[in-house]
C-alpha cells in the first residue's frame, strides 16, 4: 500500500477527480439553470388538498406544489409546531403556491404531509393569469356580461375563453394607443416646452414665436382630447365582462375580465397541449412587458435594452479593437512602447469591471455628459440630458471593457495568416496599407467576428459597471421609438443581468419571483453560451482553413 502511494498513482487519480469535479460543476450548473428555468413555463398540476390540523378541524387548500423538503421533527418542535400521532425522525412538508393574493395573507403555505387527508387534481380547477395580484386558483362558476350571466355549465369554458380574448384585445388597443399616439403627443409637448425655453435663453422668444408655440400646443392638446376619449371607450369596453370564481375558501369571487390575461385548466391538459402551452408561455415571456414590479410577465424591455446596448457597443469597439490589433501585429516594432501597450491590453482585460463603472460614471457621465449638456442642452437644465447615466455611456464604458477581447482575438487571427501572403502582395508592388486593406483584413474577418462575438457575450453578462452608468430597474420608454430622432441614446435602459439581480434580491416578494429569475437566467445563459460556442466554432473552422493554407 505504501509503495502504491509512493508510485504517485493515487495523486494522479486525485487530479483526475479535480477534473471530474469541475466538469460536474459546470454541467450541473447549466442543468440546474435549464431545469429550473424551463419548468417555469410548464403548466403545473393544481392540487386540491384537505388539511387536518391537530385539533381535528379541516380546511381546503388549492394551489401548485412549489417545493418539498424533509425536516427533522425535533426542529419543528423547537419552532413550536406539534404533531400528534406521528412516529419517525423525518417528515415531509410541501410548499403550496395558493395565489389569490388579495384574499390570503401569504400566497405560499407550508403543509405537513401527514396532515393531508385528501389530495386530488380535479379537472375543472382553473388558474387565471391576471395583470394584478398574481395568479388566481379556483373553479370557474360563471361568466357575466354587465352583471348578467351569459354562460351555462356546458359552454362555460368556451364563453370564458371568448370573453378573455375580447377583453385582452381591448386592453391591447388601449395600451397601443397609450404608448403610440398619446406617447408621441406627450413627447411633442415636452419638445415644445424645451423649444420655448431655448428661445427664451437666447432672448428670441418674441410675441410671434410665443403665439406659434401656443397654437401648436393647443392643436396637440385637442388631438390629445380625441385620443383620450377613444382610450376611455376601449377601457369601458374591456371592463364589460367579468368572471365568477370559487376559491379555496368556498367563496364566490367576481373578477373583472380586463384584469384577466389568460385562463388554463392544467389538470385537464394532455401532454401535447401542455407542450403547446409551454411554448406559448416562452413566447409570451420574451415578448411581453413586465408586470407587478418586474416579478411577473415578460422581459421584453430587458432583452431589447441588452441587445440595443450591445449593438451600440459593437459599433464602437470593433474599429478600435481591430486597429489596435493591426498595430500590434503588423506595425509595432519590438520596442518598449509595444511591450507597454501589450501590458496595457492585459491590464485592461484584468481591471475589475466595477472600476470601469466608476470611471464611466465620473468621466463620461458627469464630466463629458455634463459638458455636453451645458453646450447643447441648456434649455433642459437643471434636469440633465446626457449628464446622467444612459445607454450611450453604458455602451462606451463596456466598449473599453471589451476592447482587449477584440484585440486578442483579432491578433490571433492575424498571426495565423501566413506571412507568404503579405510578402506576395508586397512583392507585386502593393503598399503596406493596400496589402492590409485588400488581403489581410478580409482574411482576418472571421477572427474579427470571433472577437466581436466574444465581446458581445462578455458585455451581455456584465452587470456591475452598468449599475453605475445607465441600467435601471424599470425604464418607462425604450431607447428606440417612433419619435424623432428615433434613437434616444440619453435614455436609461433595462438589462437582463440587472433584471436578475434586481428581481432576485430587491423585489418585495422574492419567493414568488424566483422562478422568473431562473427563467431569465436561463435565457441569458443560453444567449451567452450560444455566442461562445459560435465563437469557438468559427475559430476552429478558421484554424483548419489556415492549416491547409500553410502547405
Amino acid at each position: 500500500m505504501n509503495k502504491w502511494f509512493k508510485s504517485g498513482k493515487p495523486y494522479i487519480w486525485l487530479t483526475a477527480g479535480a477534473v471530474s469535479v469541475s466538469l460536474i460543476a459546470v454541467l450541473g450548473l447549466l442543468a440546474l439553470i435549464a431545469w429550473r428555468g424551463l419548468s417555469f413555463f410548464w403548466p403545473a398540476a393544481i392540487h386540491e388538498v384537505e388539511v387536518q390540523a391537530n385539533d381535528g378541524s379541516t380546511r381546503v387548500i388549492i394551489g401548485e406544489v412549489y417545493d418539498r423538503e424533509e425536516v427533522p421533527i425535533s426542529r419543528l418542535q423547537e419552532s413550536g409546531v406539534t404533531l400528534e400521532g406521528f412516529e419517525g425522525e423525518m417528515l415531509e412538508r410541501k410548499l403550496f403556491k395558493v395565489g389569490n393574493r388579495e384574499f390570503v395573507p401569504l400566497d405560499f403555505m407550508w403543509v405537513m404531509q401527514p396532515q393531508i387527508i385528501r389530495d386530488e387534481t380535479p379537472q375543472d380547477l382553473a388558474v387565471l393569469e391576471r395583470s394584478k395580484d398574481g395568479n388566481f386558483y379556483g373553479y370557474v362558476v360563471d361568466v357575466l356580461e354587465n352583471g348578467e350571466s351569459v354562460a351555462n355549465s356546458e359552454n362555460l369554458r368556451e364563453v370564458l375563453f371568448e370573453r378573455i380574448e375580447r377583453a385582452v384585445e381591448f386592453n391591447e388597443k388601449a395600451s397601443d394607443l397609450q404608448q403610440g399616439p398619446i406617447g408621441a403627443i406627450n413627447y411633442e409637448l415636452n419638445q415644445l416646452r424645451l423649444e420655448a425655453r431655448a428661445l427664451d435663453l437666447e432672448g428670441q422668444l418674441t410675441e410671434a414665436e410665443q403665439q406659434r408655440l401656443a397654437a401648436e400646443e393647443q392643436a396637440l392638446n385637442e388631438q390629445y382630447k380625441v385620443l383620450e376619449k377613444e382610450l376611455f371607450a376601449y377601457r369601458e369596453a374591456a371592463s364589460r365582462d367579468s368572471v365568477v370564481m370559487r376559491d379555496m375558501r368556498g367563496v364566490d369571487v367576481t373578477i373583472p375580465m380586463y384584469r384577466v390575461l389568460d385562463a388554463t385548466f392544467p389538470n385537464d391538459m394532455g401532454v401535447l397541449s401542455k407542450v403547446g402551452h409551454f411554448f406559448v408561455q416562452i413566447g409570451k415571456f420574451v415578448s411581453e412587458d413586465p408586470r407587478e414590479a418586474n416579478t411577473e410577465g415578460g422581459v421584453f424591455p430587458a432583452i431589447f435594452g441588452t441587445v440595443f446596448m450591445v449593438l451600440l457597443m459593437s459599433v464602437i469597439v470593433t474599429p478600435f479593437g481591430v486597429i489596435a490589433a493591426v498595430y500590434l501585429h503588423e506595425y509595432a516594432g519590438k520596442n518598449a512602447i509595444t511591450r507597454l501597450i501589450r501590458i496595457a491590453v492585459i491590464n485592461l482585460a484584468g481591471v475589475p469591471s466595477i472600476v470601469y463603472g466608476v470611471f464611466g460614471l465620473g468621466f463620461f457621465v458627469y464630466m463629458v455628459g455634463g459638458t455636453l449638456d451645458q453646450i447643447f442642452y441648456p434649455e433642459a437644465l437643471p434636469s440633465p440630458t446626457f449628464g446622467t447615466p444612459g445607454v450611450m455611456w453604458s455602451a462606451i464604458t463596456l466598449a473599453i471593457l471589451t476592447l482587449p477581447v477584440v484585440i486578442v482575438s483579432t491578433e490571433e487571427g492575424l498571426s495565423r495568416i501566413p506571412s507568404t501572403l503579405r510578402e506576395g502582395s508586397l512583392a507585386l508592388g502593393a503598399t503596406k496599407a493596400e496589402t492590409l486593406w485588400r488581403i489581410i483584413l478580409p482574411m482576418a474577418s472571421p477572427a474579427i467576428m470571433t472577437g466581436l462575438i466574444l465581446a458581445v457575450a462578455r458585455a451581455a453578462g456584465e452587470v456591475a459597471p452598468l449599475m453605475l452608468v445607465g441600467v435601471v430597474k424599470s425604464a418607462p420608454m425604450l431607447p428606440v421609438d417612433g419619435n424623432f430622432p428615433y434613437f434616444h441614446l440619453d435614455r436609461k435602459f433595462m438589462h437582463l443581468g440587472f433584471h436578475i439581480y434586481d428581481v432576485g434580491f430587491q423585489s418585495p416578494n422574492v419567493e414568488a419571483a424566483r422562478p422568473l429569475v431562473y427563467a431569465t437566467s436561463f435565457l441569458l445563459v443560453t444567449v451567452i453560451v450560444g455566442l461562445n460556442l459560435t465563437a469557438i466554432g468559427v475559430r476552429n473552422h478558421l484554424r483548419e482553413k489556415y492549416r491547409s493554407l500553410e502547405h
Binding site: 502504491w4 427533522p72 489596435a324 491590464n347 481591471v351 440587472f498
Partner: protein, 747 residues
C-alpha cells in the same frame, strides 16, 4: 511621355500618402489602448486627489468694525453676503460682507442696527447651527435673539434682507427667580424646550429648564420653568449647555463638572473631572464640537485636547481622546464648525489654526496674512472666515472641502465619538446631520482579501489539479472536449453565479452543512478508494481504466458520493448535532452564523476563478517541451516523478501567473460578493460570517453618494486601490508569462 510619367508618379504619390496615413492612423489607434489605461488611472487620481489637499485661505475684504462697543459674537448667513455682530452694549448690527450686483452695498456698510437689550450683564450663544443668542439683563432676566434673513427673488436675482427676530415673543425670561444679576450665561434650545445656565453675582451656578408642552386644544406651546442651583462654590470660568439639553458643563480652572438634566429638568451630578495641569496644561478656553458629543479644551501651552464620553466601568465618563498643537501661546478661543468635526483656534499671539478631530488633521496654522487675530467666525457652509483684528474686520475665502479624510484616518484605527476604543470602522452615511462619518478602508479591504482568500482556497487546488491532469495525462480526444467545457464557465455571467449562490446555494448550505463538509472529505477518499480497487481488478478491466480516461470514469463516482453526502446530511445532523447544526454552531461553539457567509462566497467565487486558473495553468503545463518529460521517463522516473520533478518545475512560472490572474479576478469580482454576502463591513476571519468588499461597497454606495463629496471621492479611492491591486497582479503575471514563453522557445 513626360506627362504620363508625371501622372504615374502622382498616382504613386497618392498611394504613398495613403500608406503613410494608414501607418500613422494605425499607430495612433494602437496608442489609444495605452491612453485608455492611462486615462482611467489619471482620472481616478484626479478625482481622488482633492481629498488630500490642504486648506487654502485667500484674503477678500477689509473694513472697520461696524457699530459701537466690544464684540461679543459675530456670525454670517448661508451665502456669506451679510454678517452680523453682537456688541457688549446690547447692540446687534448687520453689515454687508461684499459688494453685490443689484445693490449699492459696500463691504462693512451697516444694513440694520438695533438695540436688542438694555445694559446687558452677560451674553450667551447657542451652538452655531441653532443660530440663537441671549443677553442677560438686570434682575436675573434674559432676552433671546434670533438674527434672520429673508430672501426674495426679483428678476431671477436673489436679494437677502436681514431681520431681527426674538424668541419667546421678545419677552424677557426670568432666569433667576431670586432676581440676582447674572455674571455669565449659557443658553440652548432643542426646537421646543430651552435651557439656561448662569452664574450669579454671588458666584452661584443656577440652571433653569424651560420645558415646552404643547396644548392639544389650542396648539400653543407653554414653557414651564424648572429651577435648580448647582452645588458649586467659588468663581466659575465657563458654563456651557448641550444642544440636546441633557448636560450642563461648568469649568473652574482645571476642574470640569458635568451635570445631567433629565427630561423633566431634574439635575444630577454625573462626573467631576480634574484635568491634570502638568500633563495637559492650564485650561484657557472651552468649546463644544459640532454634534456636541465632544468637549474641546484650549490650554495655556497652545494645546487643544478633545474629550468625549466613553463607556467604562462607571458608566459613560468623559475621557481624554487626543490633542492638537494649535501654537505655542495660550489658546484664547475655539470655534466649532456648523456640521463637520472641524474646529478653528485663535491663540494669544494672533495665530489661527484649523483642525479636524476625526482625522486628526492639522490643516492650517498661521498668522493669516500676518494679521493678529482677536476673534474669528465661520459661515454655515464653511467657506468664508471672518476675522476681527483690533478695530478691523477681514474676510477670507476658505477652501477646505475634505478635512475629514487623511491617509492615516483611512488606514489606521481611529477613536470615533462614543466608541470605547480606537477602531477600524466603515460607516459612510447616516440619517442625521450630527453624524461623524467613518471612512476606514481597512474593513472593506479586509473583506476583499477574505473573500479572495476563501475563493482561492477552493479554486487553486481544484483548478491546478484539473489543469495538470488535463494537460499531462488526458488523452487528446477527451481533452478537446473537456478544455472548452471548463472554459465556458468563465463566460458565465457572474450575476447568475451570484444569484445562484445567494438564493440557491446559501439556503442549501444552511440546510445541509454536514453534507457539504462530508462532500469535501468523502470525495477525495472515494477517489483514492476507487483507485485502490482498480489496482486489484482483472487486467482486462484495468486496461480500460487508463490514466487518460480516469476523469470520465470518476464522473459518476463523484456525483454519487456528492449525492450520498447530501442524502445522509439530515441523519448526521440528527445524530451528532441534535437536529440543528446552525443552532449547535451558534449556541455550543459560540460562532456567529449568517446564511450568506464566506463559505458560500468561497464556493461561488471559486467557481468563477477556476476556469481562469485552469486555462492559464493548463496552457503552461501543456507547452512544456515534450523532450523534457520523455527524457525523464527514459531515465527511469515514474510518470508522477516526472510530473512533479520536471514538468511542474518547468511550468511553475506559468502556474504562478495563473494563480495571480485568478487572484486578480477574485479581488475585483463584484456581483457574486454583492449577492452572496450580507455586505456587512466586519473584520473577522469566521467562515460563517459575511464581509463587504471594496467592489461591492462601490456598487452599493456609489449611486447614492453626492458628486464631489468626500464620500464620493473615497469611493473613487476604493476603485483606485482595486485598480492598483489588479494592475500589480496582472502585470507581474504577464511579465512572468512573457519570460516563460521566451524560455520555452529557446528550449
Amino acid at each position: 511621355m513626360a506627362a504620363s510619367q508625371r501622372a504615374e508618379l502622382g498616382a504613386s504619390n497618392v498611394r504613398l500618402i495613403k500608406d503613410k496615413a494608414a501607418r500613422w492612423g494605425v499607430t495612433l489607434g494602437g496608442g489609444l489602448v495605452l491612453m485608455a489605461l492611462l486615462l482611467i488611472f489619471f482620472y481616478l487620481l484626479y478625482v481622488v486627489e482633492p481629498i488630500f489637499r490642504g486648506v487654502e485661505v485667500e484674503h477678500q475684504q477689509s473694513f472697520a468694525v461696524p457699530g459701537q462697543g466690544q464684540t461679543v459674537a459675530m456670525g454670517m448667513e448661508e451665502q456669506s453676503e451679510i454678517g452680523y455682530r453682537f456688541a457688549d452694549n446690547g447692540e446687534l448690527s448687520f453689515f454687508a460682507l461684499k459688494q453685490k450686483p443689484g445693490t449699492d452695498w459696500q463691504p462693512g456698510q451697516v444694513l440694520l442696527t438695533e438695540q436688542v437689550a438694555d445694559e446687558p450683564t452677560a451674553f450667551a450663544a447657542t451652538q452655531p447651527q441653532n443660530k440663537r443668542y441671549a443677553y442677560a439683563v438686570a434682575n436675573g432676566q434674559a432676552r433671546v435673539i434670533e438674527p434672520k434673513f429673508r430672501s426674495q427673488f426679483t428678476n431671477g436675482r436673489r436679494l437677502t434682507t436681514p431681520v431681527v427676530g426674538f424668541a419667546n415673543d421678545g419677552d424677557l425670561v426670568q432666569v433667576d427667580p431670586q432676581q440676582r444679576t447674572l455674571k455669565q450665561l449659557a443658553y440652548e434650545y432643542d426646537g421646543e424646550s430651552q435651557l439656561f445656565a448662569a452664574v450669579t453675582a454671588d458666584d452661584k451656578v443656577i440652571v433653569n429648564f424651560l420645558q415646552a408642552s404643547r396644548s392639544f386644544l389650542t396648539g400653543t406651546v407653554e414653557l414651564q420653568s424648572k429651577f435648580a442651583e448647582l452645588p458649586i462654590t467659588g468663581a466659575v470660568d465657563n458654563v456651557k449647555v448641550t444642544p440636546d439639553l441633557s448636560q450642563v458643563f461648568v469649568r473652574q480652572g482645571n476642574r470640569f463638572y458635568v451635570f445631567g438634566i433629565s427630561r423633566t429638568g431634574n439635575v444630577s451630578e454625573r462626573q467631576i473631572l480634574t484635568i491634570d495641569r502638568r500633563r495637559y496644561g492650564d485650561i484657557t478656553s472651552m468649546q463644544l464640537l459640532a454634534g456636541a458629543s465632544s468637549v474641546l479644551f484650549g490650554h495655556a501651552n497652545g494645546r487643544v485636547t478633545q474629550w468625549f464620553e466613553v463607556a467604562g466601568a462607571n458608566g459613560r465618563q468623559y475621557e481624554y481622546i487626543r490633542e492638537f498643537q494649535a501654537g505655542t501661546s495660550a489658546v484664547t478661543d475655539i470655534i466649532a464648525e456648523y456640521y463637520r468635526r472641524t474646529f478653528y483656534t485663535v491663540s494669544a499671539n494672533g495665530e489661527v489654526g484649523i483642525f479636524h478631530t476625526t482625522s486628526e488633521a492639522n490643516l492650517y496654522r498661521e498668522n493669516i496674512d500676518g494679521i493678529k487675530a482677536d476673534r474669528v467666525v465661520i459661515d454655515p457652509r464653511a467657506n468664508t472666515l471672518l476675522m476681527q483684528s483690533g478695530d478691523e474686520l477681514h474676510s477670507f475665502n476658505l477652501e477646505n472641502e475634505h478635512p475629514e479624510v487623511t491617509w492615516s484616518g483611512i488606514w489606521q484605527e481611529v477613536w470615533y465619538e462614543g466608541y470605547p476604543e480606537p477602531q477600524y470602522v466603515w460607516q459612510s452615511t447616516s440619517g442625521s446631520d450630527d453624524f461623524e462619518p467613518k471612512f476606514s478602508l481597512v474593513p472593506i479591504s479586509f473583506g476583499t482579501i477574505k473573500a479572495a482568500a476563501y475563493a482561492m482556497l477552493f479554486a487553486v487546488p481544484i483548478g491546478l489539479a484539473a489543469a495538470v491532469y488535463t494537460a499531462y495525462f488526458m488523452s487528446p480526444s477527451v481533452r478537446k472536449v473537456v478544455k472548452p467545457t471548463v472554459e465556458i464557465m468563465e463566460a458565465l455571467p457572474t450575476v447568475i453565479l451570484g444569484f445562484l449562490a445567494g438564493l440557491w446555494l446559501a439556503p442549501l448550505i444552511e440546510q445541509y452543512l454536514p453534507g457539504i463538509v462530508a462532500t469535501i472529505i468523502l470525495i477525495p477518499l472515494a477517489i483514492i478508494a476507487f483507485a485502490a480497487i482498480s489496482t486489484v481488478l482483472p487486467k482486462t478491466w484495468r486496461n480500460r481504466f487508463t490514466d487518460g480516461r480516469a476523469a470520465l470514469i470518476l464522473l459518476p463516482i463523484v456525483a454519487f458520493v456528492g449525492w450520498l453526502s447530501f442524502e445522509l446530511s439530515p441523519w448526521v445532523e440528527q445524530a451528532l448535532f441534535d437536529g440543528n447544526v446552525r443552532q449547535y454552531i451558534t449556541n455550543e461553539l459560540g460562532i456567529t452564523f449568517d446564511q450568506r457567509n464566506s463559505l458560500v462566497v468561497g464556493i461561488a467565487m471559486g467557481f468563477a476563478v477556476i476556469p481562469t486558473i485552469f486555462s492559464i495553468a493548463e496552457d503552461a503545463v501543456f507547452s512544456v517541451p515534450k523532450h523534457l518529460s520523455n527524457g525523464s521517463l527514459a531515465l527511469g522516473a515514474t510518470t508522477w516523478q516526472t510530473l512533479t520533478k520536471v514538468v511542474l518545475l518547468t511550468a511553475s512560472p506559468g502556474i504562478f501567473s495563473a494563480v495571480m490572474m485568478g487572484l486578480g479576478r477574485a479581488v475585483g469580482e463584484t456581483m457574486i460578493v454583492l449577492m452572496a454576502t450580507g455586505n456587512t463591513p466586519i473584520m473577522d476571519w469566521n467562515i460563517f460570517e459575511g464581509m463587504r468588499t471594496l467592489s461591492a461597497n462601490i456598487a452599493v454606495e456609489m449611486p447614492e453618494s453626492e458628486v464631489g463629496s468626500s464620500h464620493y471621492r473615497i469611493l473613487f479611492l476604493a476603485a483606485f486601490v482595486l485598480f492598483i491591486f489588479t494592475f500589480a497582479f496582472n502585470t507581474v503575471a504577464e511579465l512572468v508569462r512573457q519570460r516563460l514563453r521566451e524560455k520555452y522557445s529557446s528550449m
